[in-house]
Symmetry: C2
Subunit: 108 residues, 2 copies
Amino acid sequence: MTSQAHDLLFRTLADPTRRAIFERLCRDGDQTVAALTAKAGVSQPAVSKHLGILKRAGLVRDRHEGRQTHYSAQRAALAPLVDWTRQMSGFWQARFDDLEDLLKRMDQ
Amino acid sequence: MTSQAHDLLFRTLADPTRRAIFERLCRDGDQTVAALTAKAGVSQPAVSKHLGILKRAGLVRDRHEGRQTHYSAQRAALAPLVDWTRQMSGFWQARFDDLEDLLKRMDQ
DNA sequence: ATAATCCATAACTGGCGGGCTATGGATGAG
DNA sequence: CTCATCCATAGCCCGCCAGTTATGGATTAT
């Protein structure tokens, strides 16, 4: 896993609004842009931009359905984060390896 | 764990230079500011600022020794990150609980 | 056909943050 | 005592990025 990937992930998750959108998608599943905008506290274009950035980081997928776009969380994209934490900790690799395998097979 | 803590952690780790400093402290242990500056690719004041931010996030500790300041990584501060990832994933809590306990008892 | 809804993009703006140089206080060396 | 070294802070600058409004293409409703 390159350090670029870590950078992209960390920078993407550093913004509170964006992280909140991702959290919501993780908690409540599939959401339209309108639904996300209703709770985001920012304008619809801002939400669209955040979704674009999340998508570039692989954290979400979009699915077009008529004039709506549904977004869903891609939890597997969190794997590099777990990997990095494991490297920084330098211990208990075994436990983390289990988790990584799970995450990597979670492309739904 | 408050969402403020997550925000502080993510924002602190989002910068590549800062993350590299933390990684180095994790890998190679205790370092003086001069030693860190030598490899950081930025000026000494920049390194000092990064260390200050890392310290505010609880990720490093400083120890004064004469005119030198030694910094060391506080891996336990990564616990909220693990916690957040666990929440987003919503699975395998047991495995992560083990890790969290370990991290929280690692205040050296 | 017309109007309304959904979403993405463009264009602009402002603030935040990471970089720098300059400086000074504290400590160690000669 | 004087000078050099280590580090932190101050002050400044500039680029990036998250926010906004405006707009338009696509789809659905009337």
